[in-house]
Symmetry: C2
Subunit: 210 residues, 2 copies
């Protein structure tokens, strides 16, 4: 009977899906994008776990051990962002509830809304940064991992790119005109281009190894 | 202490992610693709639930009621496929364990493996079919739904397309030369082209309404 936020990692998968489908404010598209990225990171780890410790792949053991450390770390970050995004907009909601009678109140409210929007944009921006890393890791998994799990490496890149593009939409919708906006827009453009290129590369490697 | 398969809908989200990352045979990329599609379908339903019953959107009420019925149905199907895919390969595994001493045993084993592969390919093929429907429904959501939830409609299409491309890889890897293969390959080519076009269209609508 806590009034704190629902901790989705410990809730049944069905609850996360049902809450995403509902009119509840969270989880929304940002959290769901982080979930897609976490699923992609999990598949990269799976490829590593099906490669590591096998004599057949002994020559890439060091690279695979390093890769699974990175994909596990990316997954932990995305699992945290999946949760963070469910409360990231709370500051904006609270700011909109501030009084707006006097000019001073209006100015304070406007500043609080803008500060809230920067936080609300910052969480999906971080999702973009980690999700493009999932695409990079998928490429190494496709190149070096057990070819029997090649489709999992491919799907890792597909989901990493989907998480980037999805979260980027949620960065853009939370942007107001300010210095933060210009820097963030430039960064997500660059990340999206890299993710798109990586998805195409990893899919090409995957199809060549089917 | 049941020895039946893990029912992932009722397991914590964390367990699904951890099992996907592990070397366990399931869930793999096929199930994870279905999960991505289910997340996309959930976002379409969310857009509907944030539109339905509001005076401002009274003129599209009938279309939105029809849309949420379809997106809920697509999600139920993808939730089932997420589970089905975790056992779809069992028939192949069992077939590989069959004796292969005599010519008759070899022939029986080969036929059983091929029958198993058709089943293993059929589940992700069905994921492709339902996931492209998620892309179609996302387009209607982007066109008619509450514009405050426009990014959720966009992310619905992104995840629908990701699910199509991911599941298509798992169809292709389970195909052997047979009539089934030719028909399935043609169908997934067509579905992938439609999903890619829809993703681009829905993203364009989304960006125009941000």
């Amino acid at each position: 009977m806590s009034d704190g936020p629902t901790i989705y990692a410990t809730e049944p998968l069905q609850v996360y899906l049902d809450d995403a489908a509902s009119k509840k404010p969270a989880p929304g598209g940002g959290s769901v994008s982080a979930a897609a990225g976490a699923l992609g990171a999990a598949l990269v780890s799976m490829v590593c776990n099906l490669t590591q410790g096998r004599e057949k792949f002994a020559d890439v053991e060091t690279e695979i051990v390093a890769l699974v450390e990175k994909s596990d770390a990316a997954r932990v970050k995305l699992e945290k962002l999946l949760q963070d995004d469910t409360t990231a907009y709370n500051g904006v909601i609270d700011a909109y509830k501030m009084p707006k009678e006097t000019d001073a109140e209006k100015a304070a409210r406007k500043a609080a809304v803008q500060a809230g929007l920067v936080i609300a944009a910052d969480v999906p921006l971080e999702i973009c940064r980690v999700a493009v890393e999932v695409c990079r890791l998928s490429k190494t998994a496709a190149e070096l991992g057990n070819p029997q799990a090649i489709t999992d490496a491919g799907i890792g890149a597909i989901l990493g790119e989907a998480a980037v593009v999805g979260a980027a939409l949620n960065v853009r919708i939370n942007l107001e005109d300010c210095d933060y906006t210009i820097a963030a827009a430039a960064e997500i453009d660059k990340i999206q281009a890299e993710a798109a290129a990586l998805r195409a590369e990893v899919l090409a490697i995957t199809l060549s190894k089917l």
